[in-house]
Structure formats: structure tokens, C-alpha cells
């Protein structure tokens, strides 16, 4: 049993690492690199969001807000104040962590629809602020972001970004799997299963809900910061309600409470609009459709449904 859990934990990470390592040889041009890098960035957000939604059972419809805050913190601190990008990134994460912590306590008292509405409101407020603070963010016109540099080395190649995002994703997945398979992770899942039973078992449910809310917000902000430096230009739409819904759709499609499902969900829904022009023109309609069809035909999501199907076939 011990071997099984360890193998399933690190086996998946190993497969992901191998895919990340060999993928560059199969990417014909920079367009494909761009799609893969954006998939990886979305996947980092989704792994964090899945810890919150899929594992701990707390919905958030406002995580694009944290993504955008991470992005804009990096942009503003690096470009307006001239801080080194890595310091800006760290400071941005700290700011988002503190903000998420402050919001979490009142908001996570709520359950179900009420929590969904409150997080939705939170995301919308962040989005409005980014639109209105023209002096700081450039408002709806957006703002340019200088490139990322690490140890005096500027990251300007697509391959450089590929390794940064790929490495970040592998580490994120590894940390998430470690967390899930610990007493902390079991406590989080217990909160999802039955809050009162978790409390009776000694779990301080409020504390754990706040913890995972902050963790998922920080991961979103980290991804946002990478995104800002990578694309080099930010608009408030990165923090919009639709962006939040995209993230949730990726998590739902990939599979609730499935870390690798989130990676797959993020990759599919990032790539589809790029390769199918139909998808591109009606992006929001398609996201709605994907969400509905997933709920109807495989409510557990892609990866868990696939796993069930394989288990049935083999047993």
C-alpha cells in the first residue's frame, strides 16, 4: 500500500517531467511554443484552484483576480519602480497572500452559492480597480511589461520561457501531490466530505480553508507574474470574470480532485481556441458548452472518467 501511494505520487510527476523534457523537439515553430507556454501558465493556476475547489470543496469564481494582481504587481514594481523582476515577483506574491488571507476569513464562512457569489464579487472588484486606476495600470489600454531576468540573465527566448514555465509546473504538481497525501491534505478533503465530521476529528476547518485559499491565490499570482513578463503586455481582461470562468472550466473539464486532470484541462482549453478558429470566434460560447457537456456526460471530469473506464475494462 505504501509502495502504491508513493509510486502513484511520483510516477505521474515523472511522466510529466519526461513530457516536458522531450516536448520542445516536437514543437515546429514559435506559435506552438506560445500555446504550450500559455497552457503551462494556466495549468499552474488550475492545479492551485483544484486544491481549493476539487479537494477542499470551496468554490472560487474570482481567481483570475489573483492572477491579474500577480501580473500587475510584477509589471508595476518592475517597470514603474524599477525593482528587479524576481524581487517584484516575490513582493507580488506576498501582497496577494496577505490580501487573500484578509478576504478568506469572512468569505469562507459562506457555503455553496453564497461563496460562489462572494468570490465572484471579489474578482469583479479587482477587475474594476485594474480598469479604473489608469495612472498605475494604464486602465483599459493596458501596460507594457519589461522582460524577465534571473541572475542578470535576461529571458528573451521562447525556449527559455518554456523551461521556466515547464519547471514551475513540475514543481507545482509535485508540491500539490505531496500536500494531498499528507495529514494536511486529508484534512482538506475531509472538509469537503463533511465539515462537522472533520471538526470532530480535530481539524480546525476554518484554518485549513483559509490556508488553501491563500495557497491557491499565491499560485495564481505566481502564474500571473510569469504571464506578465512572458507576454510583455497586460490588459485588465486578464482579471476579468470570463478569465475566472475559464480557469474553473479547465478544472472541471480535467477533473475535480485530480491534479493531472487540471494540467490536461488547462492544456486542452488553452490549445483549442488557437487551433480551431470556430472556437476562437465563439470562445465564451464554447467554454459554456464544454462546461455543460462535461457536467452532463462526465461530471467527474476527463481524467477520473477515463480512469474509471480503464479500471472497468481491466477488471
Amino acid at each position: 500500500m505504501k509502495g502504491a501511494t508513493v509510486a502513484s505520487r511520483y510516477g505521474g510527476v515523472f511522466v510529466l517531467a519526461v513530457i516536458v523534457a522531450v516536448l520542445p523537439w516536437f514543437l515546429p515553430n514559435s506559435f506552438y511554443f506560445d500555446v504550450v507556454i500559455n497552457s503551462g501558465i494556466a495549468a499552474i493556476v488550475c492545479v492551485g484552484l483544484n486544491l481549493l475547489i476539487g479537494y477542499a470543496g470551496q468554490i472560487s469564481l474570482g481567481h483570475a483576480g489573483f492572477f491579474a494582481l500577480g501580473a500587475y504587481s510584477s509589471a508595476i514594481l518592475t517597470d514603474n519602480l524599477g525593482w528587479p523582476p524576481i524581487v517584484s515577483l516575490g513582493s507580488g506574491l506576498l501582497v496577494v497572500a496577505l490580501l487573500a488571507f484578509a478576504i478568506a476569513r469572512p468569505i469562507l464562512r459562506l457555503k455553496g452559492h453564497y461563496l460562489a457569489m462572494a468570490t465572484l464579487g471579489m474578482g469583479i472588484i479587482i477587475s474594476i480597480v485594474l480598469n479604473q486606476e489608469v495612472d498605475l495600470t494604464g486602465g483599459p489600454d493596458g501596460m507594457p511589461v519589461s522582460s524577465f531576468s534571473l541572475l542578470g540573465q535576461e529571458v528573451d527566448s521562447e525556449l527559455g520561457w518554456y523551461w521556466i514555465v515547464g519547471g514551475s509546473l513540475i514543481i507545482t504538481v509535485w508540491l500539490a501531490l505531496n500536500l494531498i497525501d499528507s495529514a494536511v491534505g486529508r484534512a482538506l478533503r475531509a472538509v469537503h466530505g463533511s465539515e462537522v465530521a472533520a471538526q470532530v476529528a480535530g481539524v480546525d476547518t476554518t484554518r485549513y480553508k483559509i490556508l488553501i485559499f491563500v495557497v491557491s491565490a499565491v499560485l495564481a499570482a505566481y502564474a500571473g507574474s510569469l504571464f506578465a513578463h512572458y507576454t510583455g503586455f497586460l490588459t485588465p481582461s486578464e482579471g476579468s470574470f470570463f478569465r475566472s470562468i475559464e480557469f474553473v472550466t479547465m478544472v472541471v473539464l480535467g477533473g475535480m480532485a485530480s491534479v493531472f486532470g487540471s494540467v490536461i484541462g488547462a492544456a486542452i482549453l488553452t490549445a483549442l481556441p488557437q487551433f480551431l478558429t470556430v472556437f476562437h470566434d465563439y470562445e465564451h460560447v464554447m467554454f459554456g458548452l464544454v462546461m455543460m457537456l462535461t457536467m452532463i456526460f462526465m461530471p467527474k471530469g476527463l481524467l477520473p472518467s477515463l480512469r474509471n473506464w480503464i479500471n472497468k475494462r481491466t477488471s
Binding site: 500500500m1 505504501k2 494536511v184 466530505g193 472533520a198 471538526q199 476529528a201 476547518t205
Partner: protein, 253 residues
């Protein structure tokens, strides 16, 4: 020695007095039962003792300490655990993991170490897994250890809840209708389980409607009606109490 002392405890929901001015003492190491018709306030009393409801007035002392109104998880840390009348199972986890959650307070759970899954965390997890498997075997669920909780029959889930509560290593275990919905054979098994739990030195308080189980297993019985104490004493004393016979037991004869 008294483990749990309840004085003047009341709880009202709007205009309804669910529990009124209750005085009740639970002796360490004994098996206690609380009986009474539906709506007598038995589960409300459990909910106050475990911190799920805050009492409207009165005090709860546990192990000599005033614990009135403490949050549920702090009471769990002090040594109070329970099972639920309507199952509260983590259906998103395996049977083993359900019981491992019961080991929460005995596990290492530092956040950064958990993220890195340091050897200390792995060791502590192994300990929890081992103990949970032991308890599952002890309550007779060895065959289900690796199964998903949602694949278990009702009777097995009731036992799993007891194993999970025992995993906390409580001083006081409150069982809310452990035999409800079980057949005669299963009820007999629960009876034996309760006695074995008591032999481990855990004080048990039982809310139960199955009179054969209650009369057979209890050292002390509290009879409640309309949120008040109607009578208390040994099985024989309670059975012969005219108030109890009139209000409750007599109804069947």
C-alpha cells in the same frame, strides 16, 4: 471520578426549549446511555457537549476543566469524540483515509514540511496508516480497508465512523444511535464492540432507541423527556421508575 459534568445546561431554538436546566454527570470508565422519545433533546445534548451547538446557558466541565462553548476541534483535542446519527462520512475518500483523518491530531502537519513530504511527514503518515488499519480490523472492517467509502454498506459505515472516532484516542466517546437501521445480528455485534471499547478504558455515552442494547450494556441510564431529566440510575432502577414507565417504557406493554 466524574469525567463530564453538566450543570444547568439549556438550549433553545427560537421558542423551542430543546434542553432545559439539565444536570448530568458521566462517571469515568463506565458505559452511560441516554434514552427518551424523539425530540427529547438527546442529540441536542450531544451537540452541546461536542461544541457543535453553543449552549444558551449552563456549563459543561470535562476532566475538571470548563469547556462550555469551546469550538469542536478544541474539544476533540481535549479528548471528546463522537459518531453521528445520520452518518457523516467522507465519501470522497477511501475507508482507510476516513479513519486516518481521525488520526489528524496525532499526525505531523506542518505546512511546509507537508509540501515537501519530508521523511518526518512520511513516517508520521505511516504511523497513522498503520493505526487506522489496526482499528479497522478491530471493528471488523479489514476486508474494506482499501475500498472507497461510497461502496460500503450502511452497517459497515457505522462501524467505520466508530473506528474514526476511536482513532482520535478519545477519553469520552459519544455514540449517537449506533444500532439504528441495523438488524439483530449487527446490533449484537455493536453491543460487543461497545463493551470492548469500554474495556479499553474509554468512557462511552450512548444515545439509543434499541432498549435491549441499552438495558444490556449500560452502567447508568439517563432518561430525558421534553428536554428535561425524567429519571436516572441503573437499568433496574430506571425500569422500575413509575415516571419512566408512564412516559416511555410503558407505552409498549
Amino acid at each position: 471520578m466524574s469525567l463530564l459534568e453538566i450543570t444547568g445546561l439549556s438550549k433553545s431554538f427560537g421558542g423551542v426549549q430543546a434542553v432545559q436546566e439539565l444536570e448530568y454527570t458521566v462517571e469515568s470508565g463506565k458505559i452511560h446511555s441516554i434514552i427518551g422519545p424523539n425530540g427529547a433533546g438527546k442529540t441536542t445534548l450531544f451537540n452541546m457537549v461536542t461544541g457543535i451547538f453553543k449552549p444558551s446557558s449552563g456549563e459543561v466541565h470535562f476532566n475538571g476543566q470548563d469547556v462550555t462553548g469551546l469550538p469542536v476541534h478544541e474539544l476533540a483535542a481535549l479528548g471528546i469524540s463522537r459518531s453521528f446519527q445520520n452518518l457523516q462520512v467522507f465519501f470522497n475518500m477511501t475507508v482507510l483515509e476516513n479513519v486516518m483523518v481521525g488520526r489528524h491530531l496525532h499526525c505531523r502537519r506542518e505546512f511546509l514540511q507537508s509540501l515537501l513530504h519530508t521523511p518526518a511527514i512520511t513516517r508520521s503518515d505511516e504511523g497513522a496508516r498503520h493505526r487506522a488499519a489496526e482499528l479497522l480490523e478491530w471493528v471488523g472492517l479489514k476486508a474494506y480497508v482499501g475500498d472507497h467509502a461510497d461502496s460500503l454498506p450502511y452497517g459497515a459505515l457505522k462501524r467505520m465512523e466508530i473506528a474514526r472516532a476511536l482513532a482520535c484516542e478519545p477519553k469520552l466517546l459519544l455514540l449517537d444511535e449506533p444500532a439504528a437501521g441495523l438488524n439483530n445480528k449487527e446490533t449484537q455485534e455493536i453491543n460487543e464492540l461497545i463493551q470492548q471499547i469500554s474495556e479499553r478504558g474509554i468512557t462511552v455515552v450512548l444515545v439509543e432507541h434499541d432498549m435491549r442494547l441499552v438495558m444490556g450494556v449500560s452502567d447508568h441510564i439517563l432518561v430525558m423527556d421534553h428536554g428535561k431529566k425524567l429519571a436516572e440510575g441503573t437499568a433496574a432502577e430506571v425500569r422500575e421508575n413509575p415516571d419512566v414507565v408512564a412516559a416511555y417504557l410503558g407505552r409498549g406493554d
